[in-house]
Amino acid sequence: MKRRSFLKIAGLGVAGACGLPAARALVDAPRTEPAPGAARGKRWALVVDERKCLTRPGCQACTLACHKAHNVPKLADPRHEVKWIWKETFENVFPDQVTPYTPTAQRERPTMVLCNHCDNPPCVRVCPTQATFKRADGIVMMDEHRCIGCRYCVTACPYGSRSFNFEDPRPALGAQLADYPTRTKGVVEKCTFCSERLAKGQRPLCVEACEGIGCGALVFGDAGDPSSAVSILLRENGVLRRKPELGTSPHVFYIV
């Protein structure tokens, strides 16, 4: 056999051995589709209307609804605390909005906080496994399957929106679990804007719970749609974002 024809045959053989399985995989590739009834948005956003929220001191409706439905445990050790949506004092949420002359009542007033679903999320940039990533509709998602528990994201997030599972959450969750996966020891978790509910065409649970008690301080919608309730609120009110100087462009807005 001539050297030239040997090389030709060998080359074809290699191409076939590599190409055929690849072609088969492409043909065999399972087809998946988006859910037909899913809510679609260009850019999901949440507005917290503090004017309404403050009319109900001590209200926990959104936190309780969210934490119950997502199996967020109430742990005894405060250092192990896991939170998706909760209250912080105004001066801690907006340190740049208080002056030495701000009255104590305003400094200490409770303010709802959750993941800001930033346009430029530092947690995503530092995640070594892409366990946390940004969806096209703006949601900063968490894939706990991929989380290796390095906690870079916890350190990177300027808002303290992320919680690490220092212990197995199940014992603290009690006997009856909600129909949502729990997490396991060693992964990070946070608010996902109820991606599982959006897939069914429903709005986030905190928003529904807030409306359910007749308050309506939390408004969720598509900031990319000029006719949405969120867009109208953003146009017609002066709104605050947390630590805007960091350039993360949070998409949780506050009317104070």
Binding site: P30, R31, T32, E33, P34, A35, P36, A38, F133, R135, M141, D143, E144, H145, R170, P171, L173, G174, A175, Q176, L177, D179, P181, T182, R183, T184, S195, A199
Partner: protein, 152 residues
């Protein structure tokens, strides 16, 4: 080469030690495959049984990535039927007792599945799930034997 005998004996001993687990597994016999409880009402899984038996783990991996990472929730099976991609909502709706299906076979195969560390069945209590997780695995020899057999 006065050490030829010693070297040969050493090689034989080395071979015996390295292949020991294989002989042990063969000698012990493969053991009867576990009797899996099949759903009463359904005759056919979402894909043919041979595919599910060999490649359910790949399917579940793809489902996980599609749902969590691409926000796709509908699986189009090879027969054109559409199914919601949900471990607890779709798989466990038929295979309602994981102890008698998933866990039973995984124990036989000696393959640890950690799905239940986080996912749980509707209405199942946390303590019952924890008890199912705590069951011991099969010996190591079983892993090689059954994984080799299960791959297409």
């Amino acid at each position: 080469m006065s050490d030829a005998g010693k070297i040969a004996a050493g090689l034989v001993l080395f071979g015996a030690v390295v292949t020991g687990p294989i002989w042990y597994g063969l000698g012990r016999g493969k053991g009867a495959p576990p009797d899996l409880e099949k759903p009463a009402g359904e005759k056919q899984c979402i894909e043919p049984t041979s595919f599910m038996r060999a490649r359910h783990m790949e399917l579940l991996d793809r489902w996980r990535d599609a749902v969590v990472r691409r926000d796709e929730h509908v699986y189009v099976a090879s027969d054109g039927k559409r199914h919601e991609m949900s471990l607890t909502g779709t798989c466990l709706r038929c295979h309602s007792d994981t102890d008698k299906f998933c866990i039973r076979c995984h124990q036989y195969a000696g393959v640890e599945a950690f799905c239940w560390d986080c996912h749980q069945q509707k209405g199942r209590t946390a303590s019952a799930t924890a008890a199912a997780d705590a069951q011991p695995g099969a010996p190591a020899a079983g892993i090689a034997a059954s994984q080799g057999g299960a791959r297409p």
